[in-house]
Symmetry: C2
Subunit: 132 residues, 2 copies
Amino acid sequence: MTSHQKLTRNQALVLGSLEKAGQPLSAYTILDQLRDDGLRAPLQVYRALDKLLESGLVHRLESINAFVACSHPHSHSHGSAAFAICERCGRVDEFSDAVVQKRLASWSSEHGFKPSRTTVEIRGECAACLGN
Amino acid sequence: MTSHQKLTRNQALVLGSLEKAGQPLSAYTILDQLRDDGLRAPLQVYRALDKLLESGLVHRLESINAFVACSHPHSHSHGSAAFAICERCGRVDEFSDAVVQKRLASWSSEHGFKPSRTTVEIRGECAACLGN
DNA sequence: AATTGGACGTAATGTCATAACGTTAGCTTG
DNA sequence: CAAGCTAACGTTATGACATTACGTCCAATT
């Protein structure tokens, strides 16, 4: 993909691992998957993740301490993504709700709060796991 | 109506510690503060926190791995709280936005997702820290 | 050539959370 | 009461997640 062009080797490996998985992975799981590619220490993964998070290619799921490739890597709407996380199968749906964003921005501006990063995560069970 | 169970000694100590702090604390910080009261192991704190979370007296802040006493312990609106967390001073404002809750519930129902717990956290800088 | 800055490699450590074990205290029921 | 049950407790050990600290490499400037 062209979006990988300016990535370093480690960054490309980490992003590739997440994209291949199609679901959230912990930093240590990523590390395990990349041992054969020469990665040996957590910091190599965390450093790559930091850059990928900065550029919006990867999201962090705070409630499960995991990372996931962005579903819409070309829509530069960082910080505004919301996630539905299935606790049974691990599937994650990334979505974005303008109304939610607007309400949170309103609260912030009404209270003199300057937001830098927002987390919206719903944990539960996905349709597939509910047997339908 | 479950929520008015009497607290055990450890639960009361942990809740007291959080209330006294008036800001989020990590489990290990709580433990340090309660050593003189006889607590010695992380599990004693985590077990108490589990019960306090269940009963809605305490919230967990996923994005900073910390816990905070509920600001409105008598409004049985669990799972629906949102938080604005100041990354400079640590202050946390708990609020609740019906529109946000409604939009997230709508997304869930449209996608056959059964939500069990929702996290909404804004990190940034509070009015006081912005010098205003 | 010298300098600089970003990414890298490695080891050690720090921070957050739970597993697994047995024990204690309060309840309830014959 | 005694037997049995259950929820909470205490302790040790371990697992899981993340960063500090230090030095090296290399390519782009100056």
